[in-house]
Symmetry: C2
């Protein structure tokens, strides 16, 4: 008997027929003697619908109230799945984030989980019930409803698995595993049987839509065994995300190609080249709770330098507003922004032991006439920012260059 | 400065434009120096949509989970209104039933309010905030979400007004007050400036859709000054619901004509005519939480009698199932059911001092060839059950007969 946390995303609960299918799948696991905790997203499209309502009300909706509104999508699906389970004779009980309770800080719309009270869930599991928890949401110390940000249901699932010391956390989605890249862009993309947390982290943070980045961090940190599976297939082992590299196998140099269209680039030109500048700029950005991704500072010339970074497209306008203020404070020359960029990255633990990967990447892009605007590297990934219109071409070229195309 | 509880129904918050209008109205009251607590229903159609989803999942959805699902409609509107208020510079804070907290028993889908903790609301009001509360919902002692049954938002509003000792509870709806009958059926219907709680209670319980019956009971019990107003008009005093009859005015004999299409009639034929029979039958019905409205037992003949009662249409199938079991237990002859009936009632405190009202009513119906199936009377109302197809005709005839038609 194992304790399994299963998370089903929006497409898996998109309508009542699919919710009944999820109930059947959960019932099968339970019939095998497992204890099951289910974490659900809202029906696909529902959260966007709620945000659209809020935007009709206000150009910048109050964050506390936005969370009050947006958290309802998951509350609907947990109720519906619990009904469906009881309807087929499986005892079940739904919990909102507040009912669990999933305690978070009070950073509305992007809250962080502080602790999870597993007592009531444990009691229900021991009584033979399936526990159905609303993903994406929690409650702060004052009882305000909070949400964890887009894709937060994955994080909820992993956090619950960690709190309950579950044997496995299964993320059911509309794909049957983690691919070398998005098969919609590269039809030759292959499913990976195993990927390391580190690689997955880079893939996720770089825009692979399979798993939310924080959930992978959490899983790595708390050693939660994580598996990505399709909710539309009954067979298949999906992709297991492991802590260890598999020493017995010939490692591919590159495991996958990640890309992201949702970033925007901001540059502050002619900044005085002196200590504390990066902090001055990024401190102001962070103070407004905007996540920064790539950061580039060029070598200074004539006592000034140019400072560039990328943010999520949705934060572009806000970040630009902040930079305009910082510009006067620092007597910088100008602020320029570009939100039609794309980022493409090659990811692989094999990179550590294989020199020359970067130059192979840059040559492949150059051969296609693709200009590189920014470069950023880590131990296991190399990212470049390019004009958005070349993004898909770049992904296909790199997928072929690093031998990832399926051989059929 | 007064403390006013305002309740807005589903049509008043049916879309974001209307929610903004509500925000403007609330802002005007606040600008006059009043403290305002707003109670909201779900957007019109939303609760039905959620119930329809639940019915797709299960023919008889688990009540706890149904409440988990259905309570989300109000959570969306309170968030949206609070955003709208803040957007026009009015500090506001939304509360779900659980956040207030509105403590109820655990009769899911039909919960009763036990107590309301007004401390946080009072703190917010004193800090100058508008408090926006989700109607229709509460939370039981174990933290499960409960709902108060259809129309429960009115009850929430009155209960909050009572708990906060508000100066007035204003129910905003899509009509500008309480009418002598439904103007959609009788165009000559008149708005009443004042109506007594007793009359309103009869009007509401008999199917006038303006106010939910329990809210009127509550208002009467806790002496809450209740006013029904239109949310679509800026002028107008609506209808005030008072404890006292106005002694200075010539009372009309009949204040209004109520009617209800949502009932079904059940009859147990050939029941042994002995003590305890009514309890045996209705006890079984009540045990399943089905509300019974009219009850008729005919005089016994040959040691047996016929026992009839009406229930809400939505409980018809369930009630019939119970009666089928009771039939064998009591060795009764047969169960017959009819869900194409209508009930029409004349209501008026003036009835007390004017004899002959019943016979005028019956004559008016007989003149139109309408057959009366059941009769039930109270001190201030007379109800008859007739074939549903004559319902509107009966309402119009009685409205004219008792001099309620507008003189224009």
């Amino acid at each position: 008997m194992a304790l399994i946390v299963q998370k089903y995303g929006g497409t898996s609960v998109a309508n009542t027929e699919r919710i009944k299918n999820v109930a059947q799948r959960v019932a099968r696991f339970r019939a095998q003697g497992h204890q099951v905790v289910v974490v659900l997203s809202a029906m696909s499209g529902e959260t966007n619908k709620l945000i659209a309502l809020a935007k009709e009300i206000s150009a910048s909706p109050d964050p506390r109230e936005l969370d009050q509104v947006c958290s309802t999508g998951e509350q609907v699906t947990i109720g519906l799945l619990s009904m469906a389970l009881k309807d087929i004779g499986v005892p079940a009980k739904s919990y909102t984030g507040g009912q669990v309770k999933v305690l978070t800080d009070n950073t509305f719309t992007k809250a962080r989980i502080l602790s999870i009270d597993e007592a009531s869930m444990r009691r229900d599991l021991d009584a033979g019930k399936v526990v159905v928890v609303a993903g994406f949401q929690g409650v702060d110390a004052e009882g305000n409803v909070t949400t964890l940000g887009r894709g937060g249901s994955d994080t909820s699932a992993v956090a619950l698995a960690a709190a309950l010391k579950a044997d496995e956390c299964q993320i059911y989605t509309d794909v049957d595993g983690v691919y070398t890249t998005d098969p919609r862009v590269v039809p030759q993309a292959k499913k990976l049987d195993v990927i390391t947390f580190e690689e997955m982290l880079e893939m996720a943070s770089l825009g692979s839509k399979v798993l939310q980045i924080r959930s992978v961090e959490f899983a790595g940190k708390y050693k939660v065994k994580l598996r990505v599976l399709s909710s539309f297939e009954d067979e298949g082992e999906g992709t297991l995300i492991t802590v260890e590299e598999d020493k017995n196998m010939e490692q591919p140099i590159i495991s996958g190609i990640a890309f992201n269209r949702d970033e925007a680039k901001l540059t502050l030109l002619g900044v005085p080249d002196k200590p504390g500048i990066a902090y001055h700029i990024l401190g102001a950005i962070a103070a407004d709770n905007i996540d920064v991704d790539m950061i580039i500072q060029n070598v200074g010339v004539d006592g000034t330098t140019d400072f560039s970074f990328t943010v999520n497209n949705s934060d572009f306008a806000r970040a630009k507003g902040i930079l305009d203020k910082v510009k006067s404070e620092l007597a910088a020359r100008a602020v320029i922004g570009d939100n039609s960029i794309g980022k493409v990255s090659i990811v692989g633990v094999g990179m550590r032991s294989h020199p020359g990967v970067a130059s192979r990447m840059f040559k492949a892009l150059a051969d296609e006439g693709i200009n590189i605007q920014m470069i950023s590297t880590s131990e296991i990934k190399i990212s470049v920012v390019i004009d958005e219109k070349y993004l898909e071409l770049a992904v296909r070229v790199l997928h072929r260059t690093f031998g990832l195309d399926r051989a059929d």
